[in-house]
C-alpha cells in the first residue's frame, strides 16, 4: 500500500495532476459548503490567508526546494507586493469601480514590483553561498520592513504627497492617507476573495510546474545538485538561480497583494522574520521540491493552530511540540522505525478487531 503510494507520488507528471486536482476539488467542496450548509465565520476568514500562504510557500519552495538556496526573507517580497497592491488599488479606486479588475491589477503590479525588488536583491545575494546567502536574504527582509515603516504617502486633489521617516504629509480636504509609517495601510477597501485566491494558486502551480519541467527547471536543478559540474557543461549558475529567485519573488508579491487587500488595515511589521520562518516551515514539512506536499503542509499547519484555539495559551506550545516531533520522526532512522512499528501494531490490532466483528 505504502509502496504503491510512493510510486504514484514519485512520478513527476502524476504529482502535478494531483496538485491541480486537489486544489480544484478543494475549491469546489468549499464553495458547495458555503452555498449549502454554510461554514463558520472563523473558517471563512481563514480562506483567503490560507490561499496567500499556500502561494507564498509554493514560491518559496521554488527557491529552497528546486533551486536549493535557503531564503529567510520571503516575507519581504510579500510585504512589497502587499503595499504596492494596496497603493494601486487605493489610487484606482475613484476611477475604476470594478473590484475584481482592481484586485487583478493590484496583484499584477504587486507581483511586478516584488519581482523588480527580487531582481535587484538577487544580484548581491547570489554572489554568496549557503548560510551567508541565507543571512543576506534575512537582512534584506529587515531592510524592507524598516523602510516601509518609514514611508508616509497620501493622496488628495493635488496629487500624491510623500514623506520619509517623519510624517510631513498634509492633505487638503477629502484627501486620504495611503501609507502612514508603522501604522501601515489603514482603511483599505477589502477586495480579496476566495475565488481570487484559488485562481492565484492555480496560476502559481502553472508557473512553477511549467518552469520546472522545461530547460530552465533542468538547469536550476543541475545548479543545485552540482554547481561545478553544471558550470562545466556551460550552465551560467547565477542567471539560472536568478530566474528562480525572481519568479519566486513575483509570486510572493502577488500573494502579498491579495493578502494586503484582505484586510482593512495592515502594518509593515506583519511581514517580519517570523512570517518568513513560518512559510519556510510549511516548505520543509511539505517536502523540498514537493508542491503537493507544500499545499497540504500549509493548510494543516496554518489551520491547525486555529483549530487549537479552544486550548488558548497552550495551542502554540502544542504546535511547536508537534513540529519538533515531526522533524525528529521523519529525520531519525531509529525513531522512524519505532513509529512505523507502532503504527503497524495499531493497524493489526484494529484489523483483528474488525475481523472479529465481522465474524
Amino acid at each position: 500500500m505504502e509502496k504503491m503510494f510512493k510510486k504514484i507520488f514519485d512520478k513527476k507528471h502524476i504529482s502535478r495532476t494531483v496538485s491541480y486536482l486537489i486544489v480544484i476539488v478543494g475549491y469546489i467542496i468549499i464553495q458547495l459548503m458555503m452555498n449549502t450548509v454554510g461554514i463558520k465565520n472563523l473558517f471563512k476568514s481563514l480562506l483567503v490567508p490560507t490561499c496567500c500562504y499556500i502561494v507564498a510557500a509554493l514560491s518559496l519552495n521554488l527557491v529552497v526546494g528546486v533551486s536549493g538556496e535557503l531564503s529567510l526573507g520571503h516575507s519581504g517580497f510579500m510585504s512589497v507586493g502587499a503595499f504596492a497592491g494596496i497603493l494601486v488599488s487605493g489610487l484606482l479606486e475613484p476611477y475604476l469601480a470594478m473590484g475584481w479588475l482592481r484586485l487583478l491589477i493590484a496583484m499584477l503590479v504587486g507581483g511586478v514590483i516584488a519581482g523588480i525588488v527580487g531582481l535587484l536583491i538577487s544580484i548581491p545575494v547570489l554572489k554568496l553561498q549557503g548560510d551567508y546567502l541565507a543571512i543576506v536574504t534575512l537582512a534584506f527582509c529587515q531592510i524592507i520592513k524598516s523602510l516601509l515603516n518609514n514611508i508616509y504617502l497620501g493622496v488628495d486633489n493635488n496629487g500624491l504627497h510623500f514623506s520619509f521617516v517623519q510624517n510631513k504629509v498634509v492633505l487638503s480636504n477629502g484627501g486620504r492617507m495611503l501609507l502612514s509609517g508603522p501604522m501601515g495601510a489603514t482603511a483599505t477597501t477589502r477586495l480579496a476573495t476566495f475565488t481570487a485566491g484559488f485562481l492565484l494558486i492555480l496560476f502559481a502551480l502553472l508557473i512553477i510546474y511549467n518552469l520546472t519541467y522545461s530547460r530552465f527547471g533542468r538547469t536550476i536543478m543541475a545548479a543545485r545538485d552540482n554547481r561545478i559540474a553544471a558550470e562545466s557543461v556551460g550552465i551560467h549558475i547565477r542567471n539560472t538561480k536568478m530566474l528562480a529567485f525572481v519568479i519566486s519573488a513575483i509570486l510572493a508579491g502577488m500573494s502579498g497583494a491579495l493578502f494586503g487587500l484582505n484586510y482593512s488595515t495592515l502594518q509593515p511589521a506583519k511581514f517580519d522574520f517570523n512570517l518568513s520562518i513560518l512559510i519556510l516551515v510549511y516548505v520543509v514539512l511539505g517536502g523540498l521540491g514537493n508542491m503537493t506536499g507544500t499545499i497540504f503542509a500549509t493548510i494543516i499547519l496554518y489551520v491547525l493552530p486555529e483549530l487549537l484555539r479552544g486550548l488558548q495559551d497552550y495551542r502554540m506550545l502544542i504546535y511547536s511540540m508537534i513540529l519538533i516531533l515531526i522533524m525528529l520522526v521523519t529525520n531519525n532512522q531509529s525513531l522512524k522505525e519505532k513509529v512505523e512499528a507502532l503504527i503497524l501494531k495499531i493497524k493489526t490490532r484494529f484489523l483483528k478487531k474488525g475481523s472479529v466483528a465481522n465474524d
Binding site: 511549467n210 552540482n226 558550470e231 550552465i235
Partner: protein, 277 residues
C-alpha cells in the same frame, strides 16, 4: 606509426595535425597556491584529432592542469588558447562554450535527476526558447523539447544507455555513472574532451571496453581527447602523445614508446635506484 613534430615552444604535435589550428595550446601555464607552485611552465599543444595522455605520480598536479584549462582555477601565469582563442578572460562556462568539456575524478553527476535530464542539461545552450515560452507552453517549447529529447536519446544510444534514460543518475552502477559523465560532456559538442581518470575503479574487462569507447568517440565525433590515467596499459595503448608531470612540471613528452623508455620517467615513478655501497 605516429610521428611527432616539434613546435618552437618545445611542445609536440602529431604530424597529421601539424597544419591545422591546434584545439589547445598552453604557454608557460602556472598556478601558485599560497606561494607553493602547483603547476609551473606547462606547455602543450594538442591537435584537433589527437588522443593524448597526461600522466604522473599522485599529487603531480594533473587534475590541477584540468582545473586550469576549464578555469575552475584562474592561472597565476601563462596563456591558454582554445581553438586559437585566448581564454584569459573566460569563465568555466565560457570555456565550455568555446569547446572544452570534461569529466571529474570524483564523479559529479546531477544525481537526483534522470539520466536523460543529465544529458539535456548539457544540451541547454543549444536550445532556443525563453521562460515565457516555457510557462505558457508555446509551440516553440514543444518543438524544442521534442528535438532535444530525440537528440539526447540518440547520444545515449551510441553508448548503449538509452534504456536507462529515465533512471535516476545517482542510482546507476559505478561504471554507468562514469559513462554518463562522458556522454554528458559530449552533449555540449566539445572540440576537446578532458577525461579525469576514466578507468578508475574499473576491472580489466571494463577498461578494455573503455579503450574502445574512447577511440570510438574520437573517430565518431572527430574531437581531441586528453586523459589523465594511472592505468598504464590503457595510456600506452590509446594515447598518441603523452606528457609526464611531476611536481607540477612536465618532465617528459613524446610518443608512448619514447615515454616507456625514458629514464627520467621511470625515476619519477619508481624513485632513484639506490646505489650499492
Amino acid at each position: 606509426m605516429t610521428k611527432l613534430v616539434q613546435y618552437p615552444s618545445g611542445a609536440y604535435v602529431l604530424e597529421r595535425d601539424a597544419y591545422s589550428t591546434p584545439v589547445l595550446e598552453t604557454y608557460h601555464l602556472g598556478i601558485d597556491f599560497g606561494g607553493l607552485s602547483a603547476v609551473n611552465n606547462f606547455n602543450i599543444i594538442v591537435g584537433p584529432t589527437e588522443i593524448s595522455g597526461l600522466i604522473g605520480p599522485n599529487g603531480a598536479g594533473k587534475t590541477t592542469v584540468f582545473n586550469l584549462l576549464t578555469k575552475v582555477y584562474q592561472p597565476s601565469k601563462g596563456t591558454i588558447l582554445v581553438n586559437g582563442h585566448d581564454t584569459s578572460k573566460m569563465t568555466t562556462v565560457d570555456v565550455n562554450k568555446a569547446g572544452v568539456a570534461r569529466t571529474f575524478q570524483n564523479i559529479r553527476l546531477f544525481e537526483k535527476m534522470s539520466v536523460i535530464d543529465n544529458v539535456k542539461v548539457a544540451m541547454n545552450n543549444s536550445m532556443h526558447y525563453n521562460p515565457l515560452s516555457a510557462i505558457f507552453r508555446t509551440p516553440k517549447y514543444y518543438r524544442e523539447e521534442k528535438r532535444i529529447h530525440q537528440k539526447a536519446l540518440e547520444l545515449l544510444d551510441i553508448f548503449n544507455m538509452s534504456d536507462l534514460a529515465n533512471t535516476e543518475a545517482g542510482s546507476l552502477p559505478y561504471g554507468a555513472q562514469r559513462r554518463l559523465e562522458i556522454v554528458r560532456a559530449l552533449a555540449t559538442k566539445p572540440s576537446l574532451l578532458l577525461l579525469d581518470e576514466p578507468a578508475a575503479g574499473m576491472n580489466p574487462n571494463e577498461t578494455k571496453e573503455l579503450m574502445a569507447t574512447i577511440r570510438n568517440i574520437r573517430d565518431k565525433f572527430n574531437i581531441a581527447i586528453i586523459l589523465i590515467e594511472h592505468d598504464m596499459s590503457l595510456v600506452m595503448n590509446i594515447c598518441e602523445g603523452i606528457a609526464v608531470l611531476n611536481y607540477g612540471r612536465i618532465i617528459a613528452k613524446g610518443t608512448p614508446k619514447d615515454i616507456q623508455n625514458n629514464p627520467v620517467v621511470i625515476e619519477a615513478y619508481l624513485g632513484k635506484p639506490e646505489k650499492e655501497d
